[in-house]
Symmetry: C4
Subunit: 247 residues, 4 copies
């Protein structure tokens, strides 16, 4: 299904990113309504994300590659820029706006489902320096995982990214946004998972730095990519996930 028209692939990115933000924001609201222990709240928030994101990657990977993240889309374009089947500039121009629009819609939907005002800017400042280090680490790890799996020919294990994010909620101080589109979406809700608009620029810069670091690690650990035969047969009924980097 890799050859889905760009229209359908962009729709998959929009719907997938919307669903991801709805999961993150909605489960955060539910958790704060039900418990006063912030540890229990983050447990619920992280487990809902592991389950939900894993399903989204499984479902939409065969259509669009299930990026849901401009950092992944841009890194896929960069690593595949010399390959025949890499992402084109036209793909980028459709994917990234779809991801951002989806992320905003997802936050609005979560607020609406819980009877909150659909748009209220977050007042949750997240600009402390050690949070930016957390965000750099979170994004480096995500890029290392996604493109390392592709380099090792294990694309079909891409849903592991959901487990990674579930762990990174806990081991990074920033709770691992690692995604500029999701970061923008999360400014539209003044709830548990929100982020103040003023923190978006530093978060995005940290994410970009982390992505570069992640690509350096991929090259250092996995080495030069080897050319794959042009027409790899696929077992019927079990299509590979379309992963971003197939250089």
């Amino acid at each position: 299904m890799r050859d889905a028209p760009l229209r359908r692939r962009a729709l998959a990115e929009a719907v997938g990113t919307a669903a991801l933000v709805t999961i993150v924001v909605g489960s955060g609201i539910q958790a704060t309504e039900l418990s006063r222990d912030v540890g229990v709240q983050l447990l619920a928030n992280s487990l809902a994300t592991v389950f939900g994101l894993g399903v989204l990657i499984t479902l939409l990977g065969p259509v669009s590659g299930a990026h849901f993240n401009p950092v992944v889309t841009l890194a896929a374009w960069f690593t595949g820029r010399r390959a025949d089947d890499g992402l084109s500039g036209r793909d980028i121009a459709a994917y990234v706006p779809a991801q951002i629009a989806g992320a905003i819609a997802g936050a609005v939907l979560a607020d609406a489902m819980f009877g909150r005002p659909p748009v209220r800017w977050s007042t949750h400042d997240r600009s402390a320096g050690h949070l930016l280090l957390g965000e750099t680490v979170a994004t480096a790890g995500l890029v290392l995982l996604v493109f390392g799996l592709a380099r090792a020919g294990r694309d079909r294990l891409a849903p592991a990214a959901a487990s990674y994010i579930g762990a990174a909620y806990w081991f990074t101080s920033s709770t691992s946004f690692a995604n500029p589109a999701v970061t923008i979406g999360r400014t539209f809700t003044d709830t548990f998972a929100g982020i103040a608009p003023g923190s978006v620029a530093p978060f995005t810069a940290a994410q970009a730095g982390g992505a570069v670091l992640g690509l350096v690690l991929v090259a250092a650990i996995f080495g030069r990519p080897t050319p794959t035969p042009p027409d790899t047969p696929t077992v019927h009924g079990e299509p590979e996930l379309t992963t971003p980097a197939l250089p």
Copy 2:
């Protein structure tokens, strides 16, 4: 095993739906007996459902398709109505009553296991408007997942529906019933997971709307189905799950 006689398939639907409701209601009772933190209660309830529903789909999928849900059964009939191997009206007439009877039996069994009166109408009103929006979103997502996986030829990943429900407990305001039979069953218990009889009609209407929305999304994202060869060989010892939509 797809060719199991209707009698055995309907029994699988009844037993599976009963077990599902027993899991949902029983774990809710246990959780409220053991903790006073409602967040911890819903964590237990949702994790028990993820584990239990995943097992039920794995076990009974090869027999009946493991719908356990009239919405899924009707959507399978609708999408497969022009295919030779789609569900027939006779199948519907057996599956749906089996699911409803199973759901009621499951609630009664859960109450009995915990020494509660076996039938007591729930007093838990769930008719607020934003809950209905939650229920619409929950059902749309479930239908998109189940029929999207089938359209992508990934039927054997159907147990992902359990992970989806586990996430949707948290990210939807309604805690994701997404199932008219289970909704009816849950009126029979006045415990954590119950729903007042008066809320059944609006919930079911929201679920029906969500199902239509889900099918629209499947068509928009996955496109027209392509015909599959009539006699796909199956690897010995690893039969595919019988999934509802094989158009």
Copy 3:
């Protein structure tokens, strides 16, 4: 590896059952030392069991079938009694004592690891009638799962039994012992997971009744077994789990 000598298979059953009881009892002690919320305690206890039991079945399934449970061993003998490769009376006479001895050793080891007296009879009475109903349901479900998967040719999904137990901790009132050997082992520790010796007989009777019910359900849902070709080739490097019922 199915043809391992009985000595090694019995050792695998003893070590596996010991490890299972160590997991159940040890995680119960740790949980009660760390939290005063009984819901959090059972969450820890059930998650540790899901992870640990899943690993044990994956590791030891290829050697002995990973029963760890006299009920499963006896049901495997019963269902396979007319097959050439079924369990023999001699197998039973080695497996069941190995399971019981392992279970006792596992409880003693858990107590010792936590600096408790290695043997102290449990004072936790669990003989209320509704608990016995819970135990019957728990065992019926386990037998339906294990032998239903085998009947459907999905033996390699046997680790799903760990997920089932994780759910059944919550949805049954008895927290799902479902295993006479483990029940006996758990009398040797006066901690969270213990059971008073006086409750062993009714629990075991309920488990036996549940096993019969489970086998009836297997026959009703999965029908008559079909003969399998005698020499099924196995893909190199991925041996099937040796499951109990291969009639």
Copy 4:
């Protein structure tokens, strides 16, 4: 990718062990900042480790075997010492220092991400006798699992080690370090997951004893290894994990 040059394999061990310690220490800090229930803290810590370590083994197994642990590296050398493709002394001399350096770097990074002083010796004494028994059991189980899976030809299930550690956090009194490099790294942080330097020697001795016990159990349960054909073909796109023991 088994034939990656030693430089890349050692880098994978350093990065993987660093990431593992960052996950363990970082999630411990986050958990203690968010909850006062120590049970909730260990739930978060153990779940983050299950998710994170599982991803690391999946990602880096194809490069270096994903040991991240001197005990596993030494046991792999010992069991493979007569095989042509076993680990050499030169491999050991690169792996073990990479693991230790990585572990220290991981602890420093976790402290830095959370705005803590990057190095502060732990004051958490863990030298009680029953903790050492716990550590022996934890390491014996890990070695039994890793080398038992290899002996059974199920190397590609190596990520099960993450589930094992998640269970062992709970069922062992020592919370299952089971790794001398990680033990050293955890002396560098005075937080939830730290260990006082004075407890390193007894912990490491207990781990060594556990490893020997684990190898004895592997031989007793899995018997003599059978020779495998020299050139086993691998399905394209799904390389086996490089596991330590391939005797």
